[in-house]
Symmetry: C2
Subunit: 353 residues, 2 copies
DNA sequence: CTGAAAGCGCTTACAG
DNA sequence: CTGAAAGCGCTTACAG
């Protein structure tokens, strides 16, 4: 419990210094029309000299709105929460809103506790940020303010959920592969338990079917979201289907592992085998040998979209349903040879700086 | 601007339903002593039935304290902010405090704006979270509440800064290498402009000097914080100093690159060459071939420490100075051969699941 | 043990 | 154009 705060400058301090009433001071500072220009200047100067900062708590009490949004995350540590969070925070800043951050760590008790706290703090709305694109139980019933689910879908169709468009992202990737002449494409991805993995596989298979192409190996290779799974799976595919000419991978980590094995088994990327990752996680995608073509989920803009929907719900009747936010393809050298590659031999490392 | 909120349940609703005054209701809910047990039960039941949540804004107005802490980050996207943030958020939760999160994106204008906003919201204290351990200008003068700097040091010695102990971390790493018999140690690290890089180099060189050992190559190899720099630098060292028997790296990313090159040039890790990373960034450290021994900065507990110091400052006269938070060594197979390594040949990949 | 009253810092009709 | 008054939802001396 903090010690009693040193009293800060208050509106009546400003009013006194400007020689007006607090009512007039308030109007002057809030740029209401009915204040004489000269009076306003005086008040503004006084406020400035005293470094007056209006008490947002008092304002909130009156307006019934705190100017804050609660953001409850499942797992901040994951690699999806942060970009989304950044998009949310940025979009809220434009609206003079602040974000109260709570990390529930995937614990239902904690989540409940945080919801109570945030309601008590009179947040104007709530964003529930999931750690995977999957379905999850609605929490809206216990929350008296508008709620938007992000990177997780509420199981109540009356709730609004903003999701990454995994099927669409996979389409972009595989269409790119087909468009650059690949015909023997395999799909190595993460755990089948993730809807994201299944949706990407669906998008991949749909495109192949549209082009009358087979999926090498006959089925997606589900496994783990790790480089080591990428290495192993690539080894299996290269052994059983040596004519494979492209890998579409469920993540950049997997793609990095795939690239290592392809390289070690003596195939050239992209000349012999193309590789596409997913996530555009720079530390992997840009540092892979060669750098990875990959799908960027546009997570920041997904976060901003969520905020836009939340504001719509604050101002009007909320709408439900799932919004799929599109990704984009980032093309690097793992699918298309660099314009001026001096040494076609693998292993050429770019120079410093 | 949100629409006028649907009026929420208020203390007088509770009081009315319980048949008491708001004053009594307040006392009952706050567990003050001077309330009859029977009255309290009645009030609590009424509050429960109405799902009453006290208005934190009103409470804050009275107490002069909002029960929130402002957290201003430089770059949430970096890999250090999140673990620290988690530690901070968790420690604050234990104290019933919420965190208002603002990402300044390294922009001084934004930072100023956020400081004003947070002061206006009457945060009880502020945490300034840097994106590198370096020195930076103090902001304390413009902030009327206690401030703690984390993962960045204020240039005003009267301010309190909590930093990662990079020199100590490097000592742990190099002492481990020396202790396991390495004598020809090289140091490959990131940009010299980072104090973290320089401090780690200092720690490394100090330990070597204490043991009368040379630094292979004569000086630390400063470069970039990337795998590709690790690959290049390792190639250089192996060419010019083929008797090198260990690499201490400034990051796990660099170490990953080093491991790749060492492997490709036919040396075994750890038999011929040991590698130590820095950061314990799991997606790199655990997925490296072989998994990396590395220094964990204990960032979560660093965040908790910062909160502890902030609370001390809230309750008493603040103290200044820089606190160095210790890291710890995480030992994996890049320095010590696994107990039962069946195939000493490189490339053995662990099984699935 | 209970309740009426004052007040936290501000805004907003409403008189003047 | 300005200011006195009421009120946002709560807590806290202070009477009773």
């Amino acid at each position: 419990m903090p010690r009693k705060r040193s009293t800060s400058v208050t509106l009546s301090d400003v009013a006194e210094r400007a020689g007006v009433s607090v009512a007039t001071a308030s109007k002057a500072l809030n740029a209401r029309a009915e204040v004489a220009a000269e009076t306003r200047t005086r008040v503004l100067r006084a406020a400035d000299e005293l470094a007056f900062q209006p008490n947002a708590l008092a304002r909130g009490l009156i307006s019934g709105s705190s100017g804050t949004i609660g953001l409850i995350t499942d797992e901040l540590g994951g690699r999806f929460a942060i970009p989304i969070l950044l998009g949310v925070e940025n979009a809220l800043g434009d609206e003079q809103m602040s974000v109260l951050l709570c990390d529930a760590r995937g614990d239902a008790i904690r989540r409940r506790h945080y919801i109570r706290t945030l309601v008590s703090r009179r947040v104007d709305g709530l964003i529930i940020l999931g750690d995977r694109n999957d379905m999850r139980p609605s929490l809206t019933r216990e929350i008296p303010v508008p709620v938007v689910y992000v990177y997780a879908e509420s199981d109540d169709p009356a709730d609004l959920s903003v999701l990454a468009d995994d099927e669409g992202g996979a389409r972009l990737a595989v269409e790119h592969l087909v468009g650059t002449g690949r015909r023997r494409i395999a799909h190595i991805t993460g755990e089948e338990g993730y809807r994201a993995a299944r949706d990407r596989a669906t998008g991949c298979q749909t495109v192949l079917r549209e082009h009358g192409l087979p999926l090498v190996g006959g089925a997606p290779l589900y496994g783990e979201w790790t480089q080591s799974w990428g290495r192993r799976a690539a080894g299996m595919v290269l052994r059983t289907s040596p004519d494979v000419d492209a890998f579409f991978c469920g993540s950049d980590q997997i793609a990095t592992g795939v690239a290592e094995t392809v390289r070690e088994l003596g195939r050239r990327v992209p000349e012999d085998v193309a590789i596409v990752g997913y996530d555009n996680w720079e530390v992997f995608a840009a540092q892979c040998r060669p750098p990875l073509t990959t799908v960027d989920l546009n997570l920041q803009s997904l976060g901003a979209t969520a905020v836009r929907h939340l504001f719509a719900a604050l101002n009007a009747a909320p709408t439900g349903g799932a919004v799929r936010h599109p990704g984009r393809l980032v093309i690097r050298e793992s699918t298309v040879a660099a314009p001026s590659s001096r040494h076609p031999a693998a292993g050429a490392e770019p120079g410093p700086r």
